[in-house]
Symmetry: D2
Amino acid sequence: MTATRFFSDNAARVHPRVMAALEAANAVDTAYDGDALSQRLDDAFSHVFDTRVEAIWVATGTAANAIALAHFARQWQGVLCHREAHIEVDECGAPAMYSGGAKLMLLKGEGAKITPEAVSERLAAIRPDVHQVQAAAISITNATEYGLAWRPDEVASIGDVGREHGLNLHMDGARFANAAAHTGFSPAELTWRAGVDALSFGFVKNGGMNAEALVFFNGCGGAGVRELRKRGGHLQSKGRFAAAQLLAMIENDLWLTNARAANAGAKLIAEAAGDRLLHPVEANEVFIRLSATEAASLRSLGFDFYDWGQMSEEGGAARLVTSWDQDAEAVAPLAKALAAL
Amino acid sequence: MTATRFFSDNAARVHPRVMAALEAANAVDTAYDGDALSQRLDDAFSHVFDTRVEAIWVATGTAANAIALAHFARQWQGVLCHREAHIEVDECGAPAMYSGGAKLMLLKGEGAKITPEAVSERLAAIRPDVHQVQAAAISITNATEYGLAWRPDEVASIGDVGREHGLNLHMDGARFANAAAHTGFSPAELTWRAGVDALSFGFVKNGGMNAEALVFFNGCGGAGVRELRKRGGHLQSKGRFAAAQLLAMIENDLWLTNARAANAGAKLIAEAAGDRLLHPVEANEVFIRLSATEAASLRSLGFDFYDWGQMSEEGGAARLVTSWDQDAEAVAPLAKALAAL
Amino acid sequence: MTATRFFSDNAARVHPRVMAALEAANAVDTAYDGDALSQRLDDAFSHVFDTRVEAIWVATGTAANAIALAHFARQWQGVLCHREAHIEVDECGAPAMYSGGAKLMLLKGEGAKITPEAVSERLAAIRPDVHQVQAAAISITNATEYGLAWRPDEVASIGDVGREHGLNLHMDGARFANAAAHTGFSPAELTWRAGVDALSFGFVKNGGMNAEALVFFNGCGGAGVRELRKRGGHLQSKGRFAAAQLLAMIENDLWLTNARAANAGAKLIAEAAGDRLLHPVEANEVFIRLSATEAASLRSLGFDFYDWGQMSEEGGAARLVTSWDQDAEAVAPLAKALAAL
Amino acid sequence: MTATRFFSDNAARVHPRVMAALEAANAVDTAYDGDALSQRLDDAFSHVFDTRVEAIWVATGTAANAIALAHFARQWQGVLCHREAHIEVDECGAPAMYSGGAKLMLLKGEGAKITPEAVSERLAAIRPDVHQVQAAAISITNATEYGLAWRPDEVASIGDVGREHGLNLHMDGARFANAAAHTGFSPAELTWRAGVDALSFGFVKNGGMNAEALVFFNGCGGAGVRELRKRGGHLQSKGRFAAAQLLAMIENDLWLTNARAANAGAKLIAEAAGDRLLHPVEANEVFIRLSATEAASLRSLGFDFYDWGQMSEEGGAARLVTSWDQDAEAVAPLAKALAAL
């Protein structure tokens, strides 16, 4: 299916080394997060990020995001984010449930990337009184919902504005691996060195099964985080299997290897798409102009992808996502078909 | 470790057939719950329960309980349960978060089993006005937190009182398999035929990895259930791996086979414990009187278990739990050591 | 102060007949809403609206709005409203607290008035799945935050779109009286006949002290409404004083008389403002272009008003609000000063 | 009605001086809590309590309690209180709504008074892990739901246990005035000097109309308190009328004068009740044994009161409450009737 499945990296297979890690974890027998694997997470992620971090496993990116935001924002506060951010558009209001009703405060920005100017402008427009919801945090997505990667200086420009106003900075890194692989910057440079306080570090789209990491920098975790995880029903009794996945993904940089493969596939598709491209391809997502007829034509060849908005004869758009098992070689048939349209 | 691990069935291994099912599910490639495995759940569980049900996977029993109760009770309502119920004592208030603050209304009862009399008495004491929280549901645990199994007539006695007052009945079945195996009654008899509207059907303690089923009877599911799952961050993107576990557990009655093995182990321990027994053993949990010295003695032999409350020289109590891989043969060393105390 | 106070109708005096009603209510002695005055509300408001309604008192418009929206929208649902709606901008997230986290879904529109097209477009953009928050209700403000009055056909155009999608329609009528007085349409025509299911009927800005009415049409009230009021701490033990205010305001159409006076004052100011006017004046609010110097000049004469956004030498805007005790005669000095600028 | 109304002090008249204060406040014209009266509250209450306090008005005791508890307890935490506390029994779960689901953790105790031993025992039983809800605060009611007054040393004994565990202490003082009047201790001695961090200081039952004070000691107020008030819809736009009531009540110790009168009435009734008394009378509530026949007999004489639980021929109980306008002289007819039973 690697030749034809482009509708979501959520649908990809679990990497064999992750499967092997699950098998190995079956020998461990401690409950919740008291096991040796879960206990290793802080150290293992501290190594990845070159600083002391607090790292916990959760089952989904939605849970990671919601816990982080509820940790930073009280119910009467708000979180600035792009109006097309996953937390706003695709999580059924999870941050509101976890926080007890904190408000997402929406900003515009090209390619789902917010700007420090937009943040400043929005903050300036909030009267500092109790009638208006005051911002407590900013959330950005890296890579963005349109597959754009953030550079450290861009992240820092947001982090700086936030810090001036006492806001925490959260990064939804469902595709953090792809962004890091594309930019070549280190995990540290892309996060805490640029002002990030918490990262939802995605692994499921990148070869994992059902474990994501929620990583806190700058001592921003602590009281409340694990309570929110438990309260959300995310403290798995056999948590060792979640920890095992995360450890397998970061050992020997499997997360980067996988992301590089997916990115390479996306790059080849992008080249084939030529001027159909709607956004620069800086991760593993390719957004292209595509008419209904062209879409049907590709689908008749077996290629599966996601319409992006309404399709019509005159035009339309599609999203094509590559996964860790879809490197340049694997996506060659699609690239060829696209070029032939 | 099967000879020495008695502190929790949460710590047990995943059954090989579940591991195999995960391996097999890796070939499937649809996201969220759109895959063929997830789509089979309603049919598969309808077969188990001999009626049309709605069944969804979630990662934990806490999530299953919280979703079910939030589905039944609005934020201003309440849920009657035993004061030692898991939802009250061990879930960090999850039902309150999911429901927006519904109240758990606590009842007494021997062995963590509530009685229809206690339910009636409590309901009679609630003034029917807006000052007092009105009950919307009842939740019972089967097997109870002390390892007691409910008989269908007992369940029905609770269901009947509830129905008279328009309350839904939820069953926390983290160890439903053990209860069913002990009593010999069918899943249908123990649930909807006795008035149960929703069951948190546990598999993790019984050989699964990280998937439980939330099953709705009598058409009591529907709008809100899947929204709550998503909102709680429990709609896994690779949900096929959750579905695969559940299907593996109910195929060929693996859930019953596993539960019978664990129950047999518990029974042997109970026999060895003799008059140390604090509760009848009707599932896979054994509560015994044990002094601090005796506890230390058992632990020096490698046996691992959970103190139940304060231990002292004069007395104390311990909880010993068997798992699917701890049948009578596996627990013989413990039984022998107990008898020798 | 009637000659100089224009910053808010919230600051106006309580009407003498309301004060008299409070005095009279002191003779009544039943608690909560069991008193004869509170019990008369349904009938009295049914008379005003020419249909059977359910009417309760609350202390503030924020409470009325939050209860209505929490009644219509479950925590995982949303409410469409203008992005400058009071519920979004000035209530510190009250609807989210009362509903357990329902989302406000923001629309644009001239003068803070949403259009059926904007509603339709937004609804069409919501994917009907559990990832996205589904709309449950629409809320409009009449008069709008910029003092525009809705005509019945305009309301109905929103109500119609809503009804097609199964949404309830709420009207924030903090200045409903002013809108009704301006348009000349009856309360019935402006509400339930045009599809409104609930009205936050404001009296405090119009001569009351601390009582607003929350009115449900079409049988849309019922279970949950009074529970939410109590749970929000809004069931006053001496509720008779709230009821007395509402009854005083609707007896002999005092609410209309007061609104007409305020509207007349606003109209005179608008005429004096000439082409400074930023919005048509259809209620008791006047928005005008005003430079910092001009603002200072008016203030030096004693006039008190609210800057609307940033003021500068080049320009700026101000909001002037008239109250029930500021009819045309009372505002003549301001009109004169404005004309003289 | 002062001779016959004994069902609730909630039903009593508003004191003439409070009415006069409302009339006077009508001349003030600033919105929300920016007016001179509201701005005087901190000073005025600081004077009453002989220390620097933060004091805000709210409409009801339920709102005061809910805001205080939500301020002290995060959603995943709990508040220890008596199982018959008003916050548990009579507020439709308001603390849970305001806090986002914090749990009330119930204790027993004679006359609705909790003991330090009960608090300690409960705290000791909570495992310090994320599975169990951890306590964040303790709430006591003074006078209790059964009309018992707390002495400073009793309050301090609770406060001490709380402080050892890092818990805040809240006092629901719906009838604080009656308790203070009975004991003769100063407001300071009964509150912050004994470890109280927040007091819901009730005035409505004691001659006010619809304003209670929420008072924070020890710098325990601050960020969040006013946001919660606004979010709950309790920031009244004409807040000056709330402030005026509170100021009228504390000026010249009207609150104490009123409470003494009510207490004197209750005391006379208690003496007449003799051995019918179920609880010592230390405030303005009298609980007596009364059979259904006796209750009917008293009611036939016009006396109105509240059955306390089920009434029968064999027995039953009644609650009789006096108000500020029911001093010893006013209640003489009831005392006579009681004695004559």
